[in-house]
């Protein structure tokens, strides 16, 4: 069964409602044993990187996620869940899970007056095909709310980008791990399509 990791991340119920709507059987759990006994794992999140890492460690979920990754269980990170899989986040100068080498950086727009957070609907540009992005195209729009963005060291791990002041990765992945910066659970039909794709993905 698909398990949504519960670490007081805020949007786990939104993700669950979207899965329920799609008829995808799922459960919410913070028990590492339950998580490691799943067919698919969604690692959601809204909030602050250091607070999120603290809760993960408290509950032993940092190792659960790393173990699940090593065991080959397909994992989908969403928003903060896409950020704290990198090595380090500038938000609170936080060491993260390091499943993907790279940093999470804050937007800096001193001169062009762009608002932070990057909030609203924006289009993605596909860089590489991936089963989770099946049926989506460059120009597909998703709903974003974030002040930080992921910067993987290896460009081969970037599957889609978005442009807001700068061009930055919004869909990254390696092996059985895939992660999106946008709130796919709130991105209309397109976002639901991505969740369906993930549920079908066998890496």
């Amino acid at each position: 069964m698909l398990t949504i990791i519960d670490y007081k991340a805020g949007n786990q119920t939104s993700v669950q409602r979207a899965l329920n709507y799609l008829g995808i059987e799922n459960r919410i759990s913070s028990d590492p044993k339950v998580i490691l006994n799943s067919d698919h794992i969604i690692f959601p999140g809204v909030g602050h990187a250091s607070a999120s890492m603290e809760v993960l460690k408290e509950r032993g979920l940092d190792f659960a996620i790393t173990d699940a990754f090593q065991q080959g269980i397909p994992i989908l990170g969403i928003c903060i869940g896409s950020q704290i899989i990198l090595t380090h986040s500038e938000e609170g100068d936080t060491p993260c899970l390091d499943l993907i080498s790279g940093d999470v950086k804050r937007f800096q727009f001193p001169n062009n007056g762009l608002k932070i957070p990057h909030m609203g609907w924006n289009e993605i540009n596909l860089r590489k095909a991936h089963p989770v992005l099946d049926g989506l195209t460059s120009g597909s729009e998703f709903y974003f709310v974030h002040s930080y963005y992921t910067a993987p060291v290896d460009p081969q791990q970037v599957f889609a980008t978005c442009t807001y002041g700068i061009t930055f990765p919004v869909a990254i992945g390696v092996k059985n791990l895939f992660a999106v910066q946008f709130h796919t659970e709130k991105s209309g039909r397109t976002g639901l399509k991505l969740l369906e794709n993930f549920n079908r993905w066998i890496p």
């Binding site: 119920t13 409602r17 608002k115 957070p117 609203g120 709310v145 209309g188």
Partner: protein
């Protein structure tokens, strides 16, 4: 680049969709959940769900309706009306909303904006204001006054000053609703909208008066709004979301299709 957003407001009274004309003569026009679902299917970008009697009658928000909406609609939505405490806000967010709309309660207790922003993040806090055009005075130098309790109670506050204060306190977004334009379908209050956009850094949603896609185009360009809120145009079936979006796209705006 962000797309300009098309947002619809579902004014709800006793669980039914209602639409006011200049805030009086409110008539029921249907079921909010089925309308919301239709708009989601049609590609609407966001919803505002407003309990129009909650504020004046001190009635609690209809959490069950919020929950039903959240189970069927997968676009961002905010909820307002009668939110007076952090606990009220928490309950609405738990029920599935992304954002809370603070209006009268924020005037009575501005610290509520700060507390909500600290608790849930700025992006979750929308400051909603109902504005009436009035003669310019020293107290209201811009000639736009904030009115609360569903358009019934003047506050003596200048709308532009209040917007700036709201931003300082932590509001992540503003809904600017012109009482003069509300329900008239004669076009948005462009001047008011632009003044607020120019006074704050956060996104501004123009509300009140939208009757045609051309009105929306005007407020999104001349009025500089980040989003346009529509009610009557959609609720009475005069236009559909795709029609509006096709029009705005053809005029050169970046719109999510």
């Amino acid at each position: 680049m962000l797309s300009k957003r098309i947002i619809s407001c579902l004014d709800v009274r006793d669980g039914k969709l209602a639409k006011s004309i200049r805030f009086v003569d409110t008539q029921d026009i249907g079921d909010p959940i089925s309308k919301a679902r239709q708009y989601f299917e049609d590609g609407l970008d966001e919803l505002v769900f407003y309990d129009i009697t909650a504020s004046s009658d001190h009635r609690d928000i209809m959490i069950d309706v919020v929950r039903s909406v959240a189970e069927q609609i997968f676009i961002p939505f905010s909820v307002g009306g009668g939110l007076r405490t952090i606990e009220d806000c928490f309950n609405v967010l738990q029920a599935g909303a992304e954002k809370i709309n603070l209006n009268s309660a924020a005037i009575k207790n501005p610290e509520l904006i700060r507390e909500a922003a600290n608790a849930f993040g700025n992006q979750a806090v929308v400051l909603s204001m109902d504005v009436l055009k009035v003669p310019m005075t020293s107290a209201i130098p811009n000639g736009y006054e904030i009115i609360i309790n569903g358009g019934r109670t003047p506050t003596g506050l200048d709308a532009i000053e209040w917007a700036k204060k709201g931003e300082q306190l932590g509001a992540g977004e503003m809904v600017v609703n012109s009482i003069d334009a509300d329900g008239t379908k004669n076009g948005y209050e462009i001047n008011l909208t632009r003044k607020i956009v120019e006074a704050v850094q956060v996104p501004v949603i123009a509300s009140g008066g939208g009757g045609t896609p051309e009105h929306m185009y005007q407020v999104l360009t001349e009025g500089k709004a980040d989003a346009a809120l529509v009610a009557s145009m959609l609720h009475y079936g005069e236009y559909t979301v795709p029609q509006i979006k096709q029009y705005l796209t053809a005029k050169g705006l970046k719109i999510r299709i």
